[in-house]
Symmetry: C2
DNA sequence: TTAATTCAGGAACGATTGTTCCGTATTTTT
DNA sequence: AAAAATACGGAACAATCGTTCCTGAATTAA
C-alpha cells in the first residue's frame, strides 16, 4: 500500500555513528546530519525521531558492534595473550593511522554526556560492565592455560586492562601520534601477564 | 582616574574553571557564565574577550594549578612510592566523593575539543608532556632510592602511570562509584613498583 | 568640580539551533 | 485506474546561541 524507503536504515545509522563519533553530540548540528546521512530533514525526523533518540540509537549500535568484535576475537582465540595483544595493537594502529582520530565513541560520549543524561550514563556503565565481563572470562581462560600470570586475580586484571584501554583512546582522541608513547604503555601493561 | 573593578579577576576565572569543567565548552552558555561568575555580560566580555578566550584562560589556569600541586608533592616527598600512592588515592577519593563528578578538566577538554581546535590540542599535548616529565623525574628518583623496581625503565613507567591516571578520570566522569573498581586498577598498577 | 573610567542591566543583533509542517512526487496495493 | 501511504525537498518556526551596544549610576584621580 505504501511507498518503500529509498535508503537503508542501518546504513543511515552507520553514517550517524560516524559523524557523532567525530563531532560529538553538541558539536553535530541538524544540518550536519542531513548532509552526512544524505536524507532530508523530514525523512530523518520521521525515521529516527529527534536528535537525542538518533544519538542514542547510534551509540547503541556502536556498542554492540564493538563488543561483538572483541568478544569473538577473545573467545575464538586459542592463545588469549596473543588475542589481547592483537586487540591493543589494533587500537594503537587506529590511533596512529586515522587522519581524523576519533578515539572511542563510548569514551567520548561518556565524557561529554554521561553526567547530564542518565540514559547515556546507563549505556556507558553497562558497556564498562560488559567489557569487564568479556575481559574477565578471557583472563580466566588464559590463567588456566598458563598464558597469563596468576599473581593478580582475574577480575583485578580485567579492570586494569580496560582502564588502560580507555586511557589509550583518550590519547588517540587528543591526536597523539608518537608510536613510542603507546608502545611504552602496552609494554608496561603486558609485563603483568 | 577610573573606577576600580568590583570583582577579582582570578576569582572570576576560578568560577569559569568550575563551570566549564562541569559542563564543557559547548554545554556552557553565555547566560551560564553570567549567572555563575556573577558579573554582567558587558563586564564579562570587556574583561575576558569572547567565550573561546575565556575558556582558554580557564584551561590554562587549571593546568598550571594542577601541575604545580602534583609536582610539589612528588619533589618534596622523600618516599616517591608513597607520594604516587597519595596522588592516585586522592584522585579516587575525589571520584567517589564528588556529588557531581567532573573528572579531569584537561581530559574532558581533550576529548571534546582537541580535535577541532588546535590551540586546545597544543595545551593538551604540552600538558601530557609536562606530566610525563614530572612523573619521569619522580620515577628516576624512586628507582635510585630503591623504592621503585628497575625492571622497566623510567620513561616507560611514567607514560604507563599517566595513562592510568587518564583512565581513572574518565571512569570518574562516567560517574563510577564502586570503590573496588578503582582499587583494583591501582592494585594492578602499583604491582609494577 | 570635572573628567575619566568601569560598573550593572538590559535591549537588541544576526546567526544558528532543533524541529515542524506543507505541497508534491512516487510507489504500492486494491 | 484509483486510492492509500509514505518519501521527499524546502520553507518556516520559535528558541537559543554568542556578541554588541546603549544607558545611567558609581567611583576614582586630577
Amino acid at each position: 500500500m505504501a511507498r518503500t524507503k529509498e535508503f537503508n536504515e542501518d546504513q543511515a545509522l552507520d553514517k550517524a555513528v560516524e559523524i557523532f563519533w567525530h563531532k560529538g553530540y553538541n558539536g553535530t548540528s541538524a544540518q550536519d546530519l542531513v548532509t552526512h546521512l544524505g536524507l532530508s530533514r523530514s525523512s530523518l525526523y520521521d525515521t529516527f525521531g529527534d536528535k537525542q533518540q538518533l544519538f542514542f540509537k547510534a551509540l547503541k549500535r556502536y556498542q554492540i558492534q564493538g563488543q561483538d568484535a572483541i568478544k569473538e576475537l577473545l573467545e575464538e582465540s586459542e592463545n588469549v595473550q596473543e588475542a589481547f595483544t592483537q586487540i591493543f595493537k589494533q587500537a594503537v594502529k587506529e590511533s596512529l593511522e586515522d587522519r581524523i582520530t576519533k578515539g572511542c565513541f563510548m569514551v567520548n560520549s561518556s565524557v561529554e554526556l554521561a553526567m547530564h543524561d542518565e540514559n547515556i550514563a546507563k549505556v556507558v556503565s553497562e558497556n564498562r560492565q560488559t567489557m569487564e565481563d568479556i575481559f574477565l572470562k578471557a583472563v580466566q581462560k588464559g590463567q588456566k592455560a598458563g598464558q597469563i600470570s596468576t599473581k593478580l586475580d582475574a577480575l583485578t586484571l580485567s579492570r586494569f586492562l580496560y582502564n588502560n584501554y580507555s586511557g589509550i583512546r583518550v590519547l588517540a582522541r587528543a591526536g597523539e601520534k608518537n608510536k613510542q608513547v603507546y608502545d611504552d604503555i602496552l609494554k608496561a601493561m603486558f609485563s603483568l601477564f
